[in-house]
Amino acid sequence: MAHFVPHTDAEVAEMLGALGLSCLDELFDAVPAALRLAGGLDMEPGLAEADVAGRFDAYAAANRPVGHDLVCFAGAGAYDHDIPAVVNRLAFRSEFVTAYTPYQPEVAQGVLQALFEYQTLVCRLFGTDVANASLYDGASACVEAVNLAVAATGRHEVWVSRGVHPQWRQVVATMAVGTGHRIVDVALDDGLTAWPVEGQPGAILVQNPNYLGCLEDLAGAAALARRLGALLLVAADPVSAGLLRSPGSVGADVVVGEGQPFGAPLSFGGPYLGLFACRREHVRRLPGRLVGETVDTEGRRAYVTTLRTREQDIRREKASSNVCTNQTLMAVAFLVHLGWLGTPGLRELALRCARGTRYCREALLGIEGVEPAAAAPVLREFAVRTAVAADVVVDRMAEEGFLAGVALGDEYGGGLLVAVTEKRTRAEIDAYAAALEKVVR
């Protein structure tokens, strides 16, 4: 078996001796005899490194990853983007990987500066003043946005567009049971949120592009929010920032998102990255960590986590959030990936996604038996309806070598959600359309 405990028997004996103990069991005298686990854990003995690798080969072999044999057209908040080599080579250097939260800033400037730069980039993408050092994922970012809004407005009702990722809405609903917030589900009309005109919501939450890939009217939502005295919470796609007006610039108070497209492989859903940003006026309600610039005793530029009094370890039951461990390493990967793309690259990436999406959508709508799920303009993802049920389509297409997309739930009247990234070639899209034509017959 693998050995991670360095102690030799002689050293153990010597150390026990220093403590006046005769055996290791005596270390646990404080544990009542009745609670002692007789016979130890009911688990197999430890494996050698090579045997662990063998087990994982088997797990991996039982999956079908996307790639040449399963060309990916699935998105729904988890996108198949190219990740440049620099991301893994840099973000996963062991200094970043094996460090803890930067509690001692003097020896944590690496992580702190990286987070400071990450926060800057998130604000630039979203058009906001401040961003935190990350949350768990898109869903938790939505939850925190809702909590911030309720705290800021004192109103417990929050309107949530059905255009928001259904799983994120489910998490919002789960957490609302604890906070007691009233979550109002707002339906879509031909792909776009159909807001009620009157009410007393503390906030309205909309996603753009929304779950069906459609471009929402953020300016309209902002006007509505202002009129109702609510905050506008926007869940945005960081890739779309390459082409779309930033949510902040059109009136969003809080902007959240899923950072996976930059730096994180599909990874069966995690670890991903919760993006959270807002206007400066809400900074004292900001959940999680915030890195700020300051100086050291010699006046040299330095970074440190700041406004700590918001946080659970100091504020305890009155904290703005309970988050402690976040997704820092994914934030560093985000920084490297986005830094590599740079200003022109981000735009080019978004443009290529949009082009592939347009090309693919037209190819699919050219197939008889394939209908658009919504007429509203889309950017990087779109939904279609087919005679054959979407989940059946996905299964059949897998045999053809494609991950066809994500089957939409009943709340959307079914259908298939299709995403096209910069990785998809014209040849792949043509082959995909040809296969789909067979499958939907």
């Binding site: 078996m1 991670f4 153990v12 150390m15 404080a30 544990v31 009745a34 609670l35 686990l37 854990l41 430890g46 490194e49 662990v52 690798a53 994982f56 797990y59 699935a74 729904a76 908040g77 190219d82 080579r89 062991s94 200094e95 094996t98 939260t101 800033p105 003097e106 690496g110 400071f116 800057t120 003043d129 401040v130 050092a133 768990y136 909590n147 998490v171 609903a173 049971v177 009217d217 390459g242 069966f268 859903g269 995690g270 991903y272 900074v283 700020g292 610039e293 050291d296 440190v304 700041t306 309970n322 402690c324 461990t325 793309l341 290529r352 082009r355 910069e422 998809r424 070639t425 014209r426």
Partner: protein, 512 residues
């Protein structure tokens, strides 16, 4: 080009001055120069429609979003130099109490670095993800055996998320019992970690603090006085944050159950009791684990982690879904393919997908490598190291609750502060100079000038010896001198007050 001034020249000044100890590392934005490019894209043959053709004018931005414009070479140098300004477990001992900064085996990193795991889309149908579902189910089984529980959810991405999940399970249970309205309070010891009370609030409960007794454990009488049928439950860490085992856990459990409350186990300190005893045996109903502490998921500079929650049989119907289960084919169960199951009375999802999957897989590789026998050795050595170090330091530092500890102990610099003005923070900064990370300071709150020390099992006796020597050396320092520490780190002591007073949360927010 204008001659560069003393401050870092803009646009890719790739010197390693920061490494060599002078200058700060310029930000990505200072390294930026207009027109510089690293990005490149594959040839796809897709028609090259313009942005205007693709995006409605109302939504299209006029200017590109400013990111940065650096060469790949400068990006690499920048991040590499940043890493050289960062301490880590791989560089040295990291006795940060409550954080379990153990060595993260490289075999675990490699185990999960497989396209067959990393390139699986989370929305793929089960027919394409049997390997992942089997892995998660195997991990769930192991975690249940380790904690003595019946079922678990792997969705919570961290400990705090696990706590909140647990509290929502508590609430669902009471609601089902028609007691939702009555149960308003959750008890928490005064030594509890900050996430506990914060989670209680988010769970919709009020915090009732339970004071510690003279021995650093839950005061039984105080507990009794606070127990009533409006109590939803109690959250405990055992061993607690003082590193002490709550010896009265059985009567505590009985008393809480007596009034109809549930017991929540904060598993942050599970590293102390692997294979020794199980929360389930102690009477706990709900347990969260920090896989990034106990099971060697690297902390990543603050995350990602994973905070699975395990529960007793009666609470399994409330677990978040979907859960991977093996289809029952015919009479005998668990031999078919894996499918997703939604618990009947599930509280609902707590993560976008299936939790921090790769972190979960990494923890599973660690558990497999150790095995049942190895996990017990982990706790043996963790507790042995902590006690040896406590014993070695007791003549030098105050040890408020000086009796055998578990995997960590809390010392205090109170005596040194009185004697020579040497505070806990000074000890911490001096220790950085000695080449060690500092302990956790000023936590738990019940101990003044607290130094919470957790050596973990992966540090050798010789490393402990060196750490003890350093701490003893430091204790002889005057506060005036130590105030200048650290002097050998990339930057000196950082002005935290100023950061809060003159908030600069982004590069663009700097006063120019």
């Amino acid at each position: 080009m204008s001659t560069a001034d003393a401050s870092p020249a803009p646009g890719g000044r790739a010197t390693s001055s920061p490494l060599m100890g002078h200058d700060a590392e310029p930000t990505l934005f200072e390294l930026s120069a207009p027109g510089r490019i690293s990005a490149n894209f594959r040839a796809t043959g897709v028609p090259e429609w313009t942005a205007e053709e693709l995006v409605p004018a109302a939504s299209l931005r006029s200017e590109p979003t400013p990111v940065a414009e650096v060469s790949e070479r400068d990006l690499v140098a920048h991040l590499t130099r940043l890493s050289s300004r960062q301490f880590s477990v791989d560089l040295g001992a990291y006795p940060l109490g409550s954080c379990t900064m153990k060595y993260n085996p490289k075999l675990c990193d490699d185990a999960v670095a497989r396209a067959g795991l990393a390139d699986v889309h989370p929305a793929s149908p089960p027919s394409l993800t049997q390997g992942w579902m089997a892995l998660l189910a195997d991990l769930e089984t192991a975690l249940c055996r380790i904690t003595g529980m019946a079922g678990a959810t792997l969705q919570p991405p961290a400990g705090a998320a696990g706590e909140l999940t647990g509290l929502l399970l508590m609430r669902a249970w009471h609601d089902d019992a028609g007691q939702g309205g009555r149960r308003r309070r959750v008890l928490i010891p005064d030594s509890a970690h900050g996430t506990n009370p914060a989670s209680v609030t988010l769970g919709g409960y009020e915090v009732t603090q339970v004071p510690s007794d003279g021995r650093g454990c839950v005061d039984l009488d105080a507990l009794a006085a606070r127990l009533d049928d409006d109590v939803a439950g109690i959250m405990l860490t055992n061993p607690n944050t003082l590193g002490l085992f709550e010896e009265d856990i059985v009567p505590i459990a009985a008393a809480v159950h007596e009034v109809g409350g549930l017991l929540y186990y904060d598993g942050a300190n599970l590293n102390a009791i692997l294979g020794v005893t199980r929360p389930g045996d102690m009477g706990f109903d709900i347990v969260h684990m920090n896989l990034h502490k106990t099971f060697a998921v690297p902390h990543g500079g603050g995350g990602p982690g994973a905070g699975p929650v395990a529960v007793t049989e009666r609470l399994t119907p409330y677990l978040p879904g979907p859960r991977p289960v093996r289809a029952k084919t015919g009479a005998d169960s668990g031999d078919g393919a894996y499918e997703w199951m939604e618990p009947e009375r599930s509280i609902g999802r707590v993560h976008s997908w299936h939790g921090n999957a790769l972190a979960l897989a990494l923890a599973w590789s660690y558990i497999l490598a150790n095995g049942g026998d190895g996990l017990r050795r982990v706790s043996d050595a963790a507790v042995l190291n902590a006690n040896w170090l406590r014993n070695r330091l007791r003549d030098t530092y105050d040890i408020p609750f000086d009796r055998p500890c578990m995997h960590e102990f809390v010392a205090s610099a109170a005596n040194l502060k009185r004697a020579q003005g040497l505070r806990a923070v000074d000890v911490a900064k001096r220790l950085l100079e000695e080449g060690f990370h500092s302990p956790t300071v000023y936590f738990p709150l019940v101990v003044e000038e607290a130094l919470m020390i957790e050596p973990t099992e992966t540090e050798s006796p010789q490393t402990l010896e060196a750490l003890a020597d350093a701490l003893v050396r430091i204790a002889a320092d005057s506060g005036d001198d130590a105030h200048h520490a650290p002097r050998t780190s990339p930057v000196g002591r950082v002005d935290e007050a100023r950061a809060a007073r003159q908030l600069i949360p982004t590069w663009d927010a700097r006063p120019s």
